[in-house]
């Protein structure tokens, strides 16, 4: 036994049990949520459809964006955005919400946001699976470029984790951050080209617009699904690199304060 030395802080390795836990917690939350409502699993369909319908009515009819193919254009943006937005909003509060749990058992805190992200990713995949037939009916065929979809999804997942981990690490220390996150997401919603195309913006703001990583993802999905082309690789590589840094920083923070969080909650 080492003589009184402080334990080194180390990043927990993805151990089999914790992976099981992440997945099972995600599954349990999904099922619990479905059981809590009368319509249950039907909400998986109703929720995204209604949500998309709302935006479609507002933007296509009332604001009359008058663009051709506006419905698929908008829906692709929305499905993608909703994944990002809900994951960031919910998972960034996950450590704060898991206070009761972590006072009773030890678990690496990274488990909590990760399992929330897995949960929301499953929902996204479901909504995405609903979107595809719609696009086919609308007249966009399946092309070879669909092979890029998994890549886009992995990149978006990485981006989400890169945002979520640092936020989840900081929110328990600074609960006010949640308000900032909420408003930041609203801002980002308008800045991410969900209901307009980057090309329609004036020349001088365009470079700034493209600094937003979400824009590249949304446009990437559109390129693949609507134009049948491969997305531009360079921006995606940049997003991946940035995200990896974010994930590294976030998980380092999480493991640094791993045994501090259970004491904060009161």
């Amino acid at each position: 036994m080492g003589a009184g030395s402080r334990e080194p802080v180390k990043v927990p390795l993805p151990n089999r049990r914790y992976l099981d836990l992440v997945v099972y917690r995600a599954y349990a939350d999904l099922r619990g949520e479905a059981e809590r409502t009368y319509a249950g699993y039907l909400w998986w369909v109703i929720d995204p459809v209604v949500n998309m319908a709302v935006y479609y009515v507002v933007f296509a009819f009332f604001l009359d964006r008058g663009r051709e193919d506006f419905a698929p254009f908008l829906l692709i943006g929305l499905v993608t955005w909703r994944w990002f937005q809900t994951a960031v909003r919910i998972a960034s509060a996950s450590i704060l919400g898991g206070a009761g749990l972590m006072r009773q058992v030890y678990l690496p805190k990274i488990v909590l946001p990760t399992s929330d992200v897995v949960n929301l990713t499953l929902r996204f995949l479901f909504a995405f699976a609903l979107l595809l037939p719609f696009l086919w009916i609308y007249g966009f065929p399946v092309t070879l470029s669909y092979l890029a979809l998994p890549i886009l999804m992995v990149v978006e997942l990485l981006l989400i984790l890169a945002v979520v981990y640092p936020l989840a690490a900081l929110v328990p220390l600074l609960p006010d951050l949640r308000k900032v996150v909420d408003n930041g997401l609203t801002l980002l919603f308008f800045l991410s080209g969900i209901f307009y195309a980057g090309a329609s913006l004036p020349e001088r703001v365009r470079p700034y617009f493209y600094l937003n990583p979400v824009v590249h993802l949304i446009e990437g999905y559109r390129t693949v699904l609507m134009e049948g082309r491969w997305p531009a690789p360079l921006p995606l590589v940049a997003v991946v690199v940035g995200s990896l840094i974010g994930v590294a920083v976030g998980s380092a923070l999480l493991s640094r304060w791993d045994r501090l969080y259970p004491r904060l909650a009161n």
Binding site: E35, L101, Q104, V105
Partner: protein, 529 residues
């Protein structure tokens, strides 16, 4: 035990843990739950940790379980050592089935998925949930939930098991079984750290003991020596105060770690209390008041009973008194507010001096029963029974037509918070639920502690009823309650003469829903009336 230099598994060296208090308006910014604690845990021993509330016991366990890291000092463990805090019902989600919850809880506690699945048969059998395991958990009674939580936690086999007072759970027969199993585990070669309020339990189960006080170790070593000192200290400190409470089961999660009360604050509150109870009425057991709870379906006359019983100077029922009691009941042990939530407006029918009078009566010293009334206490019957051992229950039932019409009358007068039309349905539902919960309680605890009163019969103005009630309480009947009873009878007779205002639809509903069997059972459960 272990004379041949047992292997040291954990060394706690000068550990301090500080909690920051975020409550505004408090000038105390932080306090040290543990100040300077040194301790060792050896292989194969059972170490008992004793101490008063907020002495830092739970915090120490959390440090040992490596849930929190200390601010000062260091904890060193043998390499690869697994420690786990025994927690019941961790992470249960009511909407999932028992089986799913068992897996989830097991994963959280540190079992692998395969282990939980392999042990599932044992878990289900031990929890006696064979028929229910695939039902959603919200259909479980609290006892069933406790049983499942216990059975899952029991499959845990860490190198060092940390136990915080949780030795048994569930109803009486299961409690016996689980306590036996737990004792077996503690007495085995396993390494155990047991936190307890109860010196008796530590004496029985532990090889060594550690006495924490105000975040420091007062004494540690051989169990008997440490406990003798600890008990002497308790006796000195409380001078005829209540003996240390026996272990109370806590099965709910999410209670505060050491934040419950800063040590210094706790001791001053303790001192104040000792002065408040200067009469020593709680000292010797014959003078110690028993517990009495009045409950029943809504609108079944619990308020009338409160008035009736409070007319007796030996019985103190009411809210303010519980503020008093809540001080004594450790917040660690149960959330007093859950029981003694602020009583709604309707109860404040008496002058403001009323509660003061209750407290005065309690102080005066010849009080035999303390308690409270709330129609909805039946929801908490198992916890009441555990938290207030030996408590007595007055359970009121009332003809459903009368309950429904009472709802109606009140709604019509516009003075009540139940103006909704569908409330007679609510009445029926509550009625069925309360009776089935009471039946469970009687099955578990026997009927000796329950007195079921049928409202109309009781207030039919026969003095014999009152006499039986008093014989149930074991008190001689005195004059003031007789008067109160007579006046209440008159009052209720008048009410009874009022016409029922029920629509045919409501009558039909009541008729269809009325569960004769339950009613008959309720009346038979207590043949004294």
């Amino acid at each position: 035990m272990g004379q041949a230099a047992p292997k040291r598994l954990i060394l706690v060296d000068g550990v301090g843990v500080r909690y920051r208090l975020r409550s505004p308006g408090s000038d105390r910014r932080s306090f040290w739950a543990l100040r300077d604690v040194c301790a060792e845990v050896f292989q194969g021993e059972s170490l008992g940790v004793v101490g008063r509330n907020s002495a830092g016991k739970s915090t120490l366990l959390r440090v040992l379980a490596r849930i929190i890291a200390p601010d000062r000092g260091a904890v060193t463990q043998a390499p690869g050592l697994e420690t786990a805090l025994l927690s019941l019902q961790v992470g249960f989600i009511p909407q999932l089935t028992g089986r799913e919850n068992a897996v989830l809880s097991g994963l959280l506690l540190g079992l692998s998925k395969r282990e939980v699945e392999r042990e599932m048969e044992w878990i289900v059998a031990f929890a006696e949930l064979e028929e229910f395991i695939d039902q959603p958990m919200h259909s479980y009674s609290s006892g069933m939930r406790a049983r499942l939580g216990f059975s899952v936690a029991f499959r845990l086999e860490p190198d060092v098991l940390l136990i915080d007072e949780v030795l048994s759970a569930g109803d009486w027969s299961f409690r016996k079984k689980s306590a036996l199993e737990m004792r077996r585990k503690i007495r085995s070669e396993k390494t155990i750290v047991l936190v307890s309020h109860n010196p008796k339990m530590v004496r029985e189960l532990c090889d060594r003991a550690l006495w924490l006080d105000g975040g420091v170790v007062r004494e540690s070593g051989e169990t008997e020596r440490v406990l003798r000192r600890y008990e002497a200290h308790l006796a000195r400190r409380q001078e005829g105060g209540p003996p240390a409470r026996s272990a109370i089961l806590t099965t709910t999660g999410g209670r505060d770690p050491g934040v419950d009360k800063p040590a210094s604050d706790g001791s001053s509150a303790e001192g104040g209390r000792a002065r408040g109870n200067g009469s020593g009425l709680e000292g010797e057991s014959p003078r110690r008041p028993g517990w009495l709870f009045v409950m029943g379906c809504e609108r079944s006359g619990t308020t009338a009973f409160l008035r009736l019983l409070n007319s007796d100077r030996r019985i103190v029922l009411g809210r303010e008194r519980f503020k008093f009691v809540a001080d004594r009941v450790s917040p660690e042990h149960f959330e007093a507010e859950r029981f003694f939530h602020p009583v709604p407006e309707e109860t404040n029918y008496l002058d403001p001096g009323y509660y003061e009078a209750l407290r005065e009566r309690w102080r005066a010293g010849d009080v035999r029963y303390l308690g409270d009334k709330n129609p909805r206490y039946y929801e908490h019957l198992p916890r009441l029974a555990e938290t207030f051992p030996g408590c007595r229950i007055l359970f009121l039932v009332r003809d459903l037509y009368r309950v429904a019409s009472s709802y109606n009358v009140r709604a019509a007068r516009g003075e009540d918070r139940w103006p909704r039309r569908k409330d007679y349905r609510l009445a029926v539902r509550d009625w069925n639920r309360s009776l089935s919960l009471l039946r469970k309680f009687v099955l578990a605890n026997g009927s000796r502690r329950v007195f079921v009163v049928e409202h109309a019969q009781f207030f039919s103005a026969r003095a014999g009823h009152l006499a039986r009630l008093y014989s149930f309480l074991g008190l001689p009947l005195e004059e003031p309650p007789r008067e109160a009873f007579a006046s209440l009878c008159r009052e209720w007779q008048q009410l009874r003469r009022k016409k029922l205002e029920l629509s045919p639809e409501m009558v039909e509903h009541l008729e269809r829903k009325r569960d004769r069997l339950l009613e008959i059972w309720a009346l038979q459960a207590c043949p004294r009336l």
